[in-house]
């Protein structure tokens, strides 16, 4: 049996839909229950549902063999994992946004950046030598510029609606993020057959999806 950690939230629904197309099905009762660990109908897979940021932790420690999680979370965690598949689900962008898009070129002082992604933000500005002060928040980041906490935000954008409604515009895009299949390095060797089977089934499901 292999254990798959799935990021709760939007990723969870899309991941389970893709897995179902790949032949890995959870019955309705199990999906609707509040249990955090459930086994699929075939008994081959056990699913655990955890917060997105915890998926790389479970997989890197080998508690889960595989995981489904967004690239944004992986970039932030810097975990040592294998990333064999881009599942093309839960697509979104990691962007820099501000009230006034020109602030980056106009301000020569220290910019304050509010974000949930302090690693990504630090690396992005650091690589280009732009001095920033990073303010770590854990949610509702779009509020920060309006209230004067920060000049910029680095955040995940799906449709851009939340940004617009809070008076923000995208200054630049840092990276695109989609759901990834991640695999523990030891499981990849020691449970090679089961992991390969899952990878191939998901690949087939994705290709089938494109034709339809």
């Amino acid at each position: 049996m292999i254990t798959i950690a799935i990021a709760k939230g939007r990723m969870q629904d899309e991941a389970l839909a893709l897995l179902a197309r790949a032949g890995v099905r959870l019955d309705e009762d199990a999906r609707n229950s509040r249990r955090l660990a459930i086994t699929d109908a075939s008994g081959k897979y056990r699913f655990i549902f955890v917060k997105p940021a915890d998926v790389p932790v479970y997989v890197e420690h080998g508690i889960a063999d595989c995981g489904v999680v967004g690239r944004d979370v992986l970039l932030e965690s810097q975990a040592d994992l294998l990333l064999p598949l881009d599942l093309q689900i839960a697509r979104c962008r990691i962007v820099v946004a501000a009230v006034d898009a020109e602030i980056m070129t106009r301000s020569l002082g220290m910019l304050r950046v509010a974000t949930k992604y302090s690693q990504i933000a630090g690396a992005h500005f650091g690589a280009r030598g732009i001095p920033v002060e990073i303010i770590q928040l854990s949610g509702s980041v779009e509020l920060a510029p309006a209230l004067g906490l920060a000049d910029l935000i680095v955040d995940l954008v799906e449709t851009g609606r939340t940004l617009r409604e809070n008076g923000l515009t995208v200054v630049e895009e840092i990276a695109e993020s989609t759901g990834r299949l991640v695999v523990n390095r030891a499981s990849y060797q020691l449970k090679a057959e089961a992991v390969t089977e899952l990878v191939q089934a998901l690949e087939a499901a994705m290709n089938g999806g494109q034709e339809a």
Partner: protein
């Protein structure tokens, strides 16, 4: 920071003794190296990137010291200087703690780990490579892990030959290395889209680079540069020997193991044990290393992580 008390300490000691007795039986002499040495030694031995993870401090004269982040650097320098006149080959083994700083979020974050290791210095080629691989299998078998371990082997010259053919600038070479190492299929295929005529095609499907003999065969169909072909020959010869010894079930070829290219010069290996979430051992050939200390000669070795082995076996005893 980890305490071992009573039964756990005994188990750990037994594992250490088992490994050391296997080394001794194969004529490996124990060596005890200084725990504190000049930082320079480790930078020359491990390369800057790895050595920087060591704990560094200064003495009263301002000279930079380090708590040893590895033992191999010290052994390599010892072979090149203190033991320059001694006849080859040299065989050394050790059980010694090493100290490294790791981000705490990572699975391998412990600052102190005890390495059970060996170095075989002064012999080149396939017999020496095979000797250390057999040593590793013997230790794991003596620890009764034979049902659940896997040693992956690769030859880093396969990647190096391909990268040399592409003539990549260092940053792009590093990116290619990283994409293969993490098997990021989609990004890798995008990266290689401009190199479709080259030997790099061999890496287009990073999830198909792990397996047995067929992996080498598939690589041969695309790879033409001499450097990589020679490495494939050598890897295949090693695989032949592993098969003829009846050890093939414990080994896998993994052409995507390109994690320490700057260090290894030929064979590279990683050891995985059921029950451990990360690799519990690694090693390979580092013919370039002793040259840093003034006397270039071939060398091969590996280390096993005593603390990780203890954890796996302790948990097994509880479950049994």
């Amino acid at each position: 920071m980890r305490y071992y008390i009573g039964a756990e300490a005994r188990l750990r000691r037994t594992i250490e003794d088992t490994a050391m007795s296997v080394f001794t039986a194969w004529s490996y002499e124990e060596v005890i190296t200084p725990s504190v040495d000049y930082y320079d030694l480790f930078e020359q031995g491990m390369g800057q990137k790895e050595a920087q993870r060591g704990f560094r401090f200064t003495d009263n004269d301002g000279r930079l010291l380090a708590l040893r982040p590895d033992v191999t650097s010290s052994v390599a320098r010892m072979a090149a200087t203190l033991l320059a006149e001694r006849s080859r080959p040299l065989r050394f083994c050790y059980a010694a703690p090493v100290f490294r700083q790791q981000p705490q979020s990572h699975a391998e974050w412990r600052r102190e780990n005890t390495q059970l290791g060996c170095e075989l210095i002064g012999v080149n080629g396939h017999d020496a490579d095979l000797e250390v691989l057999r040593l590793a299998t013997e230790i794991l078998a003596r620890l009764e892990l034979q049902a659940g371990y896997c040693i992956t082997i690769n030859n880093v010259e396969i990647f190096n030959g391909v990268a040399a053919q592409l003539n990549l600038p260092p940053a792009a070479r590093e990116q290619l290395r990283r994409l293969i190492d993490t098997r990021e299929t989609a990004e890798l295929q995008r990266f290689l889209a401009t190199y479709t005529d080259s030997d790099a095609r061999a890496f287009l499907h990073p999830t198909q680079l792990t397996g047995t003999r067929e992996v080498i065969r598939a690589a041969r169909n695309v790879i033409t540069n001499n450097r990589s072909v020679a490495a494939l020959d050598s890897l295949e010869k090693l695989w032949d020997a592993i098969e003829s010894l009846g050890l093939a079930e414990h080994f896998e070829i993994d052409l995507s193991d390109v994690s320490s290219l700057d260090y290894y010069t030929g064979l590279s290996l990683r050891v995985f044990v059921r029950g451990a979430g990360t690799s519990i051992g690694r090693g390979g050939r580092y013919d370039g290393l002793t040259g840093n200390f003034g006397r270039a000669e071939p060398a091969v070795g590996f280390v096993l992580n005593l603390d990780a082995l203890t954890e796996v076996l302790a948990r097994r005893n509880v479950n049994a």
